[in-house]
C-alpha cells in the first residue's frame, strides 16, 4: 500500500441470488407453496475484498457470469450484499446505463434536470453546469425538443454529458466505451483521461481487455464470483487471456437436435490448437476439429460433413469429405475424423459446429447433430468485428490531400 487515501473499500462482500425452481409470481402460487419457495442459493460473489486508492484507474475483468456486473451494482448501491461491506469515501457516480430514466415525452432540458437530480445533483449545481452539459452534448439546437425525437446517438450524447458533469470524485464505468459512434467514443475516452489527470478515481468493469491494459493502473480478475488474481493490468490481462484459451473444462456434448437413422453416430467433437484441446480460439489460429464416431453395424462408405455456423445464425462454411473425394471403405466400429483449418478467419464471436454423417449420395442421413460443439472466437490477428469472416483486407487510400 502506498500512502494514498482509499477511495473505495470492498470488504468481504458476498452476494447470493435465489435460483427458483418454480418461482411464485402470484400470491396464489405463493400460498399454494405455503410460503416455501423452492430455490437454490447461487453465489454471484463470494468473499470479495479489495481497495481502490484515490486517483487510480482500477479495472475489474472477468468472463461473462463471473460476477462483474453484480459487483458493480453492489458498488453502485443498487444491490445490497448479503455479507460484508462496501464503503465509499468519495462522491461517486456510476455509469451503468446512459440515459436510464430519460423520459421520452420530456424535452432535453427537462431530462437533463431530472436525470442529474436522480444522479444526486442539487438544483443549483445543475443550473450552474447546465451550459457545460449542453455544450458537451452538442445539442444546443435540440435541447427543447422532446427526447423521443432524438436519434440514438443524440440520446447517448446527452446522457453521457449529464453523467460526466455530475462532477463525481469517483466514476464507476460499465462497458460504457462500447456505445455510440467512434467520434463519440473518442470524446468519452478523452474525458476519462482528463478525469484521471485531474486526480479523480475511476473504476472500470469490463471484458474489453485492451481498455484495461491501456487505461488502468491496477486490476483484479474476478472468476466465478471470487477474486482470482490482483495486480498490474498487463500481467493480469496476459494471464487471463492464457486461461481463457486453455480452458479445459469438459463441456458435455451439447446435443441441440439430433436426427438420422443412427447406424453410425458422432459421439463427440473436439477442437485442438497446437495439440491442446480448447474451447476458444483466436482468429488466425490453425484449428483441428476431431469427430469421434461409432458405427453399430457395418455401413457402406459414408460422407462426413461439418457446418461451421455463427451460433444461432448463418452458416459460414460447410465442407464435407466428399468435396475432397475422400473415400473410405465400408465403416464399422469406432474411429476419428479430423478436419484441419489452417487459418480460421472468423471474426470474434460465438460459433457452433453442426455435424452430419450421410450415405454417399447424401440422401440417407445416418446422423445429424445441430450444435455438436459450441465455441468462441476471440480477437486474434484481426480487429474486425462485423460480418462473419475476415478476408484479410489490405487497405490503401489515395487522395489529393492526405
Amino acid at each position: 500500500m502506498t500512502g494514498q487515501a482509499t477511495a473505495l473499500t470492498v470488504d468481504g462482500v458476498s452476494k447470493t441470488f435465489k435460483v427458483h425452481q418454480e418461482r411464485a409470481n402470484s400470491l396464489k402460487q405463493y400460498l399454494a407453496a405455503r410460503g416455501r419457495n423452492r430455490y437454490e442459493e447461487f453465489y454471484a460473489l463470494r468473499n470479495v475484498s479489495f481497495d481502490v486508492r484515490e486517483g487510480e484507474a482500477f479495472g475489474v475483468i472477468g468472463h461473462n457470469g463471473s460476477g462483474k456486473s453484480t459487483l458493480l451494482k453492489c458498488m453502485a448501491g443498487i444491490l445490497r450484499p448479503n455479507n460484508g461491506s462496501i464503503t465509499v469515501h468519495r462522491r461517486m457516480s456510476a455509469l451503468l446505463e446512459l440515459g436510464a430514466g430519460f423520459h421520452p415525452e420530456l424535452s432535453g432540458r427537462d431530462n437533463v434536470f431530472l436525470n442529474a437530480s436522480i444522479l444526486g445533483m442539487s438544483r443549483s449545481d445543475i443550473t450552474k453546469r447546465f451550459d457545460d452539459i449542453v455544450e458537451f452534448s452538442g445539442l444546443e439546437q435540440f435541447i427543447d425538443t422532446p427526447v423521443k425525437n432524438y436519434s440514438s446517438g443524440m440520446y447517448v450524447r446527452l446522457a453521457f454529458a449529464v453523467a460526466i458533469n455530475v462532477d463525481p470524485e469517483m466514476l464507476l464505468i460499465d462497458e460504457i466505451l462500447a456505445v455510440g459512434d467512434v467520434t463519440f467514443q473518442q470524446r468519452c475516452m478523452e474525458k476519462f483521461v482528463q478525469f484521471r489527470e485531474e486526480g479523480r478515481t475511476l473504476v472500470l468493469v469490463t471484458h474489453d481487455l485492451s481498455s484495461v491494459r491501456n487505461f488502468c493502473d491496477r486490476a483484479i480478475w474476478l472468476d466465478h464470483g471470487e477474486v482470482s488474481d490482483e495486480g498490474s493490468p498487463t500481467e493480469l490481462v496476459d494471464k487471463y487471456t492464457e486461461a481463457m484459451l486453455s480452458n479445459n473444462v469438459d463441456e458435455p456434448l451439447s446435443e441441440g437436435a439430433r436426427r438420422g437413422s443412427g447406424e453410425i453416430r458422432v459421439d463427440r467433437v473436439e477442437m485442438f490448437v497446437d495439440g491442446l484441446r480448447v474451447f476458444r480460439v483466436r482468429t488466425g489460429d490453425s484449428v483441428t476439429f476431431r469427430l469421434h464416431y461409432t458405427a453399430r453395424e457395418e455401413v457402406p462408405p459414408p460422407v462426413f460433413a461439418v457446418e461451421l455456423a455463427r451460433l444461432g445464425g448463418a452458416i459460414v462454411t460447410a465442407p464435407s469429405s466428399r468435396d475432397v473425394d475422400l473415400r473410405t471403405g465400408p465403416v464399422s466400429g469406432s474411429g476419428v475424423v479430423e478436419i484441419r483449418m489452417d487459418d480460421i478467419a472468423l471474426v470474434p464471436g460465438p460459433y457452433a459446429i453442426h455435424t452430419a454423417v450421410t450415405g454417399y449420395g447424401r440422401q440417407h442421413v445416418y446422423d445429424h447433430i445441430q450444435t455438436a460443439l459450441r465455441f468462441d472466437v476471440v480477437g486474434g490477428d484481426t480487429q474486425e468485428v462485423d460480418g462473419l469472416v475476415t478476408m484479410r483486407p489490405v487497405w490503401t487510400i489515395r487522395g489529393d490531400s492526405a
Partner: protein, 294 residues
C-alpha cells in the same frame, strides 16, 4: 473500515456504507428526512408526473375535471331519479344538492385510489431506472402523491366555487381542509408504499387492489348517506371505515360547513400515521430487493 482517519473525518458527510447488516427497515422519520434531503429529485419527479400525465390527450388537464363530473351525472341520476332519494341536507349549510355532496366525497376518494394505482404503475414502470441507478425509490411514490394532491386541490377549488354559488359558506372552512388533506396524503402514501412494494414481488396485487378499491368505494358514504343504512354494523363501517372516515370529514367541512368532531380528528390521525408507519416499514424492508426482483 475507513481510510486514514483525517480523510474519513473530512469527508464524513459523503461516506456511504452499504453492508449486509445495516439499513434494516427504514423508519417513517428516516424516510421523511430522506425526502427532504432529496427534495430536488422529488420536485422534478412530481413535475414529470404532472407534465407527462396528460401529454398525449386532446383535452389535457380538463380530463381531471371531466371524469368526476361525468360520474357525478351518472350517480346523481341513479340516486335522485332511479332510486327517488331526497338529497342530504347540509347542517348547518342548508344545502340540498346531491351532486355536490357526491363530489365532496368522491374527490378525496379518487385522490386516494388513483394515487395508489398510479404508484404501483410508476414503481413497475421505472424498473429500468431502479436496476441501473441508485436512488431513494420511495420518491417515486411520493412524487405520485404530490402530483395527485395538486389535482385534488384544483378540483376542490372548483367544487368550492360551485358550493358557494349553491349557497354554502365554504371559504372560512378551507383552512380546516388543509390539515384534512395533509392527513389524507399521509394515509394515501402509507397504502401506496405498502402496495407498490408488494406489487414488485407479486404482480397480482395490482388486480387485487382493483377489487379492494371498488369495495372501499362502496363501503364509503359517497353515493349514499350513512343514515340510509339500516344495519348498524354497516353504518358504522361507512362512518368509521378508513376511507369512509375521510369521506365523512370532507362532507362535514365542504358540504355541511362544520368542524369535524374531535373523535373524527383523532381517528383520522391514528389511521393515517399507523398506515404510513406500516407502509414505510414494508417499503423499507422490500425496496432494497427491487433491483433483483424486477
Amino acid at each position: 473500515m475507513a481510510g486514514p482517519g483525517d480523510d474519513a473525518f473530512a469527508h464524513a458527510d459523503i461516506v456511504r456504507r452499504l453492508s449486509g447488516e445495516s439499513r434494516v427497515g427504514s423508519l417513517p422519520v428516516m424516510s421523511l428526512r430522506n425526502a427532504v434531503a432529496h427534495r430536488n429529485l422529488l420536485y422534478l419527479l412530481t413535475l414529470k408526473e404532472l407534465r407527462t400525465r396528460y401529454r398525449k390527450s386532446l383535452l389535457g388537464w380538463t380530463w381531471s375535471l371531466l371524469n368526476p363530473l361525468s360520474q357525478m351525472l351518472i350517480f346523481s341520476f341513479v340516486f335522485l331519479v332511479a332510486f327517488k332519494q331526497s338529497p342530504p341536507v347540509g347542517d348547518p349549510s342548508g344545502l340540498e344538492a346531491f351532486p355536490l355532496y357526491f363530489l365532496a366525497g368522491l374527490l378525496p376518494f379518487q385522490f386516494f385510489s388513483i394515487s395508489v394505482t398510479t404508484s404501483m404503475g410508476v414503481v413497475e414502470g421505472n424498473a429500468s431506472l431502479i436496476k441501473k441507478v441508485s436512488f431513494p425509490h420511495e420518491h417515486l411514490v411520493f412524487s405520485v402523491v404530490l402530483a395527485q394532491v395538486i389535482t385534488l386541490v384544483i378540483e376542490l377549488g372548483v367544487l368550492s366555487v360551485a358550493l358557494t354559488i349553491a349557497g354554502a359558506t365554504v371559504a372560512p372552512w378551507l383552512i380546516v381542509a388543509v390539515p384534512l388533506i395533509a392527513l389524507l396524503m399521509v394515509f394515501t402514501t402509507g397504502v401506496a408504499l405498502a402496495l407498490s412494494a408488494a406489487n414488485v414481488f407479486f404482480r397480482d396485487i395490482n388486480y387485487l387492489w382493483g377489487i379492494a378499491a371498488q369495495a372501499l368505494f362502496y363501503a364509503s358514504p359517497i353515493i349514499y348517506t350513512p343514515d340510509l343504512i339500516d344495519i348498524d354494523a354497516l353504518r358504522a363501517l361507512s362512518n368509521w371505515g378508513p376511507t369512509g372516515s375521510f369521506v365523512r370529514a370532507f362532507h362535514e367541512v365542504f358540504y355541511d360547513n362544520r368542524m369535524p368532531s374531535p373523535e373524527r380528528w383523532a381517528h383520522l390521525f391514528v389511521i393515517s400515521f399507523a398506515t404510513f408507519a406500516f407502509g414505510s416499514w414494508v417499503f423499507g424492508r422490500l425496496s432494497y430487493r427491487f433491483a433483483e426482483e424486477m
